[in-house]
Point group: C2
Chain length 430, copies 2
């Protein structure tokens, strides 16, 4: 079912860990033109591109608050209860990320510390399409609440009739978002980055999207707007040994593959039989899936790799730096110390990715495309900045001032030196 | 001396808080061409641009370790001692930023936590020019040590004779950097982003630079390399009341202004007399400075603003989001809660910016150009990524599995649901 590679030489690993390249140049050009137009014409340009790209009418204003509140009526009680359960877990885990002030006296009289402050205005993008990704509203809205962001703006494309899925609106109301705009794609990102008559300019933009949205977020950075992270197609890498349950592993691989034909799915094992059994299960389970065609395409680009040892599996995974890493192995917790790069890690047979996607408490906005080498997933940190403070007494100045004078002079910055000298002189006169 | 604006209306604040716009488009085009050439021709192109832009010869290899070690001999004992004192304070403060593992049971049987892992390969850029900015080597090298980065690469342009300032090399040896390349500008950033025969590809690039380097770092992001933050000219905003020492305040403003003609210097006060006195001191102290001409130009673009109240000063500062904020006011610590956006804050008359630039312990790589609204300064966080982990027991799965099934179905992701269902079925059979 998925292509199996047996015992690759280490020299082949880098090649095997590569993702398909996307030609971004054309996308950047398209996105840049939209930014320029929206910078010039504001909402008029947002409206133009909504018609052109999505065939929908932008009505120059946010949704009414009553529309957001009324959405609840269209969400079943069971779904509301499930969403609230997820909300509580996500809140509990993210609340633990808030940082406490820790004052450090680096030298007697010199005290330094950091304090977190919310990013005042943030924008959340939720893609449209067939599935209403309300879970992402929770994943981005909850840390924004904990951080204390003052203004949270949500943009999401409506369906052809101009409606936004009520579950998205229900989730928005749970995370207290009051500004929802029925606009999507590049024009939504550009509008939040630049500001228009109806859509506020934000300091940072969060959220997933297709390659156009991703390109637009990268252009937004050039216009001075921060973004959560660059994004690519979703990925899972499963490491399984003979203690895994092949049925579970296959289900996990399929749950990633159904995202889209470009999803990346990898199975690593030191046991040939595990790969064979998972392959059998894949064939069986695939038949039952409504998104069978999409899923099949993703599996065609996927790989199972047989390695000599579990350590080799882990080493390859570190090289690949997967968004999601599932360790379906004996004593998975013992391997944690060896994990160097991954977005989120799921330990053991019961920790399936779906749990983290929705309700365990961890965030599902994670670095893809190898960015787990340098980026963290979204957390409360993503919604704050940490300001350093320092308080230096006269004694502190006497302690470190002379060293600063020497260093500033060596950097040929005499005014830097002088700022210390005038103070030391005055102290020495006293 | 500096232009004074008296009691501006709040409607004028946004305009007053604007930085001069830089036309980046041409810079991006230049940088992009260098990236393309280096991607194609590697070191050969690095060498070509080193000749072209800087008139120096790139010799296709890092400096010998002996060159780095021997540099110490050319650094005076006093300077070595001062640098070591700074090293200890920076180490002590940054060591306090390392995060501890905090396991959270969000629901019985569902445990989530984060662990930090170093970014494996990082690149540090140190600008050339008249002043050897060895202090930045400490500010970037020390958090890299604490984070545990495996490979730290340093690029810096040599002087016309091909030499790198020995103090930079001494600082590099203190922070255990062994790979130093005598190359600067766009070509250095592109080489670290893409990798060449001699220069390793890194995951993240840090460090200041002129507008070409800044543009190159932004292009590097489009090529998949993370960067510390976008950078602009350095800035200080001083808020001073009648308890300030005008001589100190003037010295602080000048220490910022001497960085370059594009440096941003702002003085805010609720007291007209304070502005007058500081202006007098500026005129007096300016005469003594070796970098008088640069400093004078920066002051011409600078402003003193008289406000009705201290609160207005703080509110304006939050709008401006300065890189450095000095509070030369009565009971400065009482104002901390009101500070919303700033890179680093200096409290009281003895906490001058120079101390933080070199030796108090805080980092001096800070967000400029209003980016303090959304970015933090460099810290240990900048050199790690935080991986989330989750461990779910059978009981945990029974607790949250059903909610995940409901949510996955509502998002029309049936394979996500199925990954839970196959597990619940097996548990229920037991």
């Amino acid at each position: 079912m998925i292509k199996t590679i047996r015992y690759p030489e280490e020299s082949e690993w880098t090649k095997l860990a590569e993702r398909p390249a996307v030609n971004q140049k054309d996308l950047f050009d398209i996105a840049e033109n939209v930014f320029k137009d929206i910078q010039k014409d504001g909402d008029k340009a947002v409206s133009k591109y909504s018609e052109k790209f999505d065939g929908i009418h932008y009505n120059f204003s946010p949704l009414g608050l009553n529309v957001i509140e009324d959405a609840k009526k269209e969400v079943s009680a069971t779904l509301q209860e499930s969403i609230k359960q997820a909300f509580r877990n996500i809140l509990k885990f993210h609340a633990s990320q808030a940082e406490f002030v820790n004052k450090i006296e680096t030298t007697p009289g010199v005290t330094c510390w950091r304090e977190s402050r919310p990013i005042e205005k943030v924008g959340i993008y939720i893609p449209g399409g067939s599935a209403p990704l309300f879970s992402t509203v929770l994943m981005l809205g909850i840390p924004a609440i904990i951080a204390g962001c003052k203004e949270v703006v949500l943009c999401t494309p409506p369906d052809k009739s101009g409606q936004i899925n009520p579950i998205i609106l229900y989730a928005a109301s749970l995370v207290r978002i009051t500004k929802v705009y029925a606009v999507g794609g590049i024009q939504a990102i550009a509008a939040m980055s630049l500001g228009t008559e109806s859509i506020p300019k934000v300091d940072k933009i969060f959220g997933p999207g297709n390659q156009y949205v991703t390109a637009a977020k990268q252009i937004a950075q050039l216009y001075g707007t921060a973004i959560d992270m660059p994004a690519g197609p979703s990925e899972v890498l499963v490491i399984a040994d003979d203690t895994c349950d092949a049925e579970f592993v296959a289900a996990d691989l399929l749950s990633q593959a159904e995202h889209g034909p470009d999803s990346q799915v990898l199975l690593l094992s030191p046991k040939s039989a595990v790969i064979d059994e998972v392959n059998k299960e894949l064939t069986k389970q695939l038949e039952e899936l409504p998104r069978k065609e999409i899923t099949k395409k993703a599996l065609q680009n996927s790989k199972a790799i047989l390695f000599n040892s579990l350590d080799d599996c882990i080493n390859f995974s570190n090289r690949y730096a997967p968004e999601h890493l599932i360790l379906a192995i004996r004593n998975a917790e013992d391997m944690i110390g060896k994990i160097e790069s991954a977005g989120s890690v799921f330990l053991g047979n019961y920790s399936c990715e779906s749990l983290g996607d929705y309700a365990s408490g961890t965030n599902h906005t994670l670095p893809t495309n190898g960015f787990a080498r340098s980026y963290s997933g979204v957390s409360v940190d993503s919604f704050v900045k940490k300001i350093t403070f320092q308080s230096v007494t006269a004694k502190g100045l006497l302690n470190i001032g002379p060293a600063v004078e020497v260093m500033a002079e060596a950097e040929q910055l005499m005014a830097h030196k002088n700022a210390v000298t005038v103070r030391l002189n005055k102290l020495n006169k006293q």
